[in-house]
Symmetry: C2
Subunit: 354 residues, 2 copies
């Protein structure tokens, strides 16, 4: 194989995650030769900037994958389901950020800091990128798992509006605008709902000045799809099919960056100071944990950054084998575009190193 | 003892909880003879309405407790610490909503739906009202405990600004007003912080468009006082000194009504449908749990109501002995004024029944 730089296609270049992706490709160390931008026919012909150069967006069609080495997909599940296999059939390695293939046993689910080695186990030529909520904790949990072997996770999420796409962001801003007009809101049942009006966007209840215990679609036994993803994807990424996971996913009025409160139980006794050191030295993790000085991660301070931020690291008072943590991760960066870019870069090494 | 209606004193009548208390005393079935309103010297002479009548506020002094049967205290810890014993020495039963006496072994910590019988065990003449976060879940957890015997609780809170008093409410409204002016906020680290400016009020970080993993003061091993209260008060109220509790307390941009995600483990196998029935028939609990129709409790819809609302009732996928729940309770009503009023009414029966 020649020592050339591989060709990349970005499918869904004009979407919310695609936009962050172009920024990430422009700022990370470049490993790509040509970068092709692909979107629906509606966006074809648009010119977008990546690596400082204007590139014309091409309409999604089988031929756009000819000569492509790696194709990233930041598109809805049904588009990935149809088109990732087409890209793979044309010789590209498809790195898919949708939910279409995550639990397919022939598709690896990869977080480079945790299981980069899985990238090569891709009989279908497809690699999946995990859900943003799982990604907001799994780099840190993976580091603790390597040291202590995790047995149980209890996860409560504080998920941002942008997890529901640009419509989620717009809806939250609209609602905050309406709620801000009345300083008496928030003390009578339904007064926020009345102020916000019927404009709920992708959310099942008002999100401004509220929290909504729902994300995704309804699955068996009252679980939301998001809660099942946290469980099933954590097990697959950690290669730990016996891991017990209980998740409750809740949307909060934050634009971008998911936060999670995690109660993690391990096969052995843990020590908070040692866990703090271990997390601080883990790639992709930043520890911010000094409550005496008001230091802990919050979404508004973490948004736009790459790492998983961890604070409030405590050994559980009543269980020496458990840790309680509070984590934040930008759901559009590490939770989506960044991790996809990282997976693609691992694949790119195969072409560069030959 | 005569069959007369007892005399009540409300100490702290002009505060945030005191204001809700006057509303509650005006709308619940009346069990009181005279109601005296007491506050700091600064507020003395003010006229407030209770039970439809104007009453003049008296300045806090030992003599205001003469002839008082029950004295409610909705004041800071240090004021309760000094004045509740004075009221008790003058013959009143003090019902205290501060943290001053909650863990005193000679002071019962009472939630009438759970342990009304403890009201009579008051060697100091003082009865404590629990913290608002504990109160937002303990009626529902108590009902489940009676049926299944709880062994472990993992609690993640979504706590409202009013838990930090009127200053918390005002700060959140101020910040939302500033944040609403810029629709691009929330996608760059620190942009919300910059928009809000230095006006953090009682919170250690911006609360608008953010969540803040901190409530209360710093205690040993990185715990917040709020997290220790959830653990220690739950144990005392349930009379269960071996209960294992892990809590992470997080403030969210909601004005009033605390929400909690709770993972509860029991001594026996549980069934979600049976738990739902059991909670639906428990006094003080309302079940709202039909996600197929978008039905689950949210703070904006629960605020201003009396019960503990429970939704998202699921048996944990990987543990047949555990339930996952999402609960909401108005932190100024059941979480403070209402529970205090309920305790005082239990005491009032002693005077009425003779």
């Amino acid at each position: 194989m020649s020592n050339r730089l591989p060709t990349l296609a970005v499918v869904g270049a004009t979407g919310a995650v695609g936009t962050v992706m172009l920024d990430i490709l422009s700022t990370r160390e470049n490993v790509w030769g040509e970068i092709r931008l692909v979107a629906s026919a509606r966006s074809a012909g648009k010119r977008l900037t990546v690596r400082g150069e204007e590139v014309e967006v091409q309409a999604l069609a089988p031929e756009v994958f000819d000569g492509v080495d790696v194709a990233m997909f930041d598109v809805p599940d049904e588009v990935s389901k149809e088109w990732a296999p087409i890209a793979a059939a044309r010789g590209a390695v498809a790195v898919d950020n949708s939910g279409a293939f995550r639990m397919d046993p022939d598709v690896p689910l990869v977080v480079p800091e945790v299981n980069a080695d899985q990238v090569r186990n891709r009989p279908r030529g497809i690699i999946s990128n995990p859900n943003c909520t799982t990604l907001s904790m799994i780099v840190a949990i993976g580091a603790l798992h390597r040291a202590y072997r995790v047995t149980d996770l209890v996860v409560s999420s504080y998920q941002a509006a942008s997890g529901a796409g640009q419509e989620g962001i717009d809806t939250l801003h609209d609602q905050i605008g309406k709620a801000a007009a009345d300083r008496t809101l928030g003390s009578r049942a339904g007064d926020v709902r009345a102020a916000v009006g019927g404009e709920l966007g992708p959310f099942p209840a008002p999100l401004a000045m509220n929290v909504v215990p729902w994300a995704g679609s309804l699955k068996e036994d009252g679980y939301s799809s998001e809660e099942l993803k946290v469980r099933n994807e954590s097990r697959k990424i950690l290669g730990h099919p016996d891991l017990r996971v209980a998740a409750t996913c809740v949307r909060v009025p934050v634009v971008t960056t998911h936060a999670l409160a995690v109660h993690a139980t391990f096969a052995q006794e843990v020590d908070a100071a040692k866990a703090r050191e271990l997390l601080a030295s883990a790639p992709g993790v930043v520890v911010q944990d000094d409550p005496a000085n008001g230091e802990f991660p919050t979404p508004a301070d973490v948004v736009g950054t790459d790492p998983t931020w961890v604070g409030r690291i405590r050994r559980s008072i009543d269980d020496p084998n458990s840790l309680d943590l509070f984590l934040c991760g930008d759901n559009l960066r590490k939770g989506a575009a960044l991790n996809t870019a990282q997976i693609a870069e691992v694949v790119a090494q195969e072409f560069i190193q030959g």
